[in-house]
């Protein structure tokens, strides 16, 4: 590059005046183009590009406790509006969704609390979010019944985590539920580590009952051809990661296995790359594996998901407008098996 090429785009200082919409603020971030502001503005542009690209299937990978912390309705709205096409998440994310679907709540607390006293009151703490034990217990009790119903209906057939998630969504009648929204909107939900959550312990509760008639069977491997098939048939694939962990790895490995490579990627995390763990690994690193194309639009936003993602979603929704309706390319090649 020539010297003048490095100096072609000056920083424009932010100028804020009321009233100011979220996307107007994002334009100011783009004008700055620096540090977190620049990365967040780029993330919005990439998400908008994914949505406007008629060939792109959008995977949202969710880990961490963002559902109990307040992103439940936002994610279920994105699912219903088809502003994402495939949800890949931890079991715990959907456990917390189901907790609220059966009437439980999460509460605002503090990260400085007497945890020994919380234990004595049967209250669990997730940083500064509190969950009463009865929220879990009521879920356990209700879902152990639902597991029994599913097992009897499916007559011993092994379900993939996607089929399992839809069977739950079919029976959870809360319209704000992510599982319910996914079931109604034909959005597949993959839970690759489904056993590593309350869903696994509910299975123990259900299957160890003395008079159990049929035991629910979930096959961890059955979803692999399902998710790889989506990546393979989609002309392009985009990924938005909230956190990292198993969901991010599952999406990246599926695009790799289907020999596609990501065309778009946004990762929101606070993890670091130096440990070699996946959650903090840079997107550049994924190019070496073939998980992301070298020319893909991509950005990693280092920040709190609870702040970054709602701002990103609000900015992009504002650009699209209230009347915007997306026609997912996935509908051309993927049919639900309800």
């Amino acid at each position: 590059m020539r010297r003048r090429d490095y100096l072609s785009d000056p920083v424009k200082h932010m100028k804020l005046s009321a009233p100011l919409t979220v996307d107007q603020l994002m334009q100011q971030f783009a004008n700055s183009g620096s540090f977190g502001a620049g990365r967040l503005a780029t993330a919005c542009n990439i998400y908008e590009s994914m949505l406007r690209d008629k060939d792109c299937t959008i995977f949202l990978a969710v880990s961490g406790a963002v559902v109990p912390a307040g992103l439940r309705t936002l994610i279920s709205d994105l699912v219903r509006k088809r502003l994402i096409d495939v949800l890949v998440c931890t079991g715990a994310s959907m456990v917390h969704d189901a907790i609220e679907a059966v009437g439980g709540r999460h509460y605002k607390g503090s990260w400085v609390q007497d945890d020994r006293e919380l234990y004595k009151y049967h209250i669990f703490r997730i940083f500064d979010v509190l969950v009463p034990e009865e929220a879990y217990v009521r879920l356990d009790y209700r879902l152990s019944e639902i597991y029994g119903q599913i097992a009897e209906e499916r007559k011993g057939e092994a379900l993939s985590s996607r089929e399992f998630a839809w069977e739950l969504g079919k029976r959870l009648l809360d319209e704000n539920s992510i599982l319910r929204a996914a079931y109604e909107a034909d959005v597949p939900v993959f839970i690759p580590a489904v056993r590593d959550s309350e869903f696994g312990f509910i299975h123990w509760l259900h299957s160890s009952q003395k008079n159990v008639k049929a035991v629910l069977n979930v096959d961890a491997f059955k979803e692999v051809p399902e998710i790889c098939g989506i990546c393979s048939q989609s002309p392009k694939n985009g990924m938005i990661v909230l956190g990292g962990g198993v969901p991010r790895n599952s999406v990246q490995s599926s695009v790799l296995a289907s020999k596609k490579g990501l065309d778009y990627a946004v990762v929101v995390t606070m993890d670091r790359p130096e440990t070699g763990g996946l959650s903090g690994s840079t997107l550049q690193e994924t190019i070496s594996w073939g998980k992301m194309k070298g020319e893909a639009d991509n950005v990693m936003v280092i920040g709190d998901i609870m702040v970054v993602f709602p701002v990103m979603a609000a900015s992009v929704m504002e650009r699209l407008g209230a009347e915007y309706v997306r026609e997912p390319v996935m509908k051309k090649f993927w049919r639900s098996t309800k």
Partner: protein
């Protein structure tokens, strides 16, 4: 922690209890495994009672609730 001999026996200090309708009702995992109704009063107990490993406030709070419903 009190010894097993000196502890008054209640579902609320049994190791099978989980909070269900705090503080008056608990979920008993033993009864659930046995396909019996698992929702029992905190201040009840049965012959399968086994001391909880870490004490909680269930019995204390259930007694308060009983006095001042």
């Amino acid at each position: 922690m009190k010894s097993k001999a000196e502890l008054e026996r209640f579902c609320g200090n049994c190791d099978s209890h989980n909070s269900y309708n705090y503080p008056t009702q608990v979920f008993c995992s033993t009864r659930h495994w046995q396909s019996q109704d698992p929702i029992v009063p905190t201040l009840w107990h049965c012959d399968q009672w086994n001391q909880v490993s870490q004490e909680c406030y269930c019995v204390r709070e259930a007694k308060k609730a009983q006095k001042h419903p």
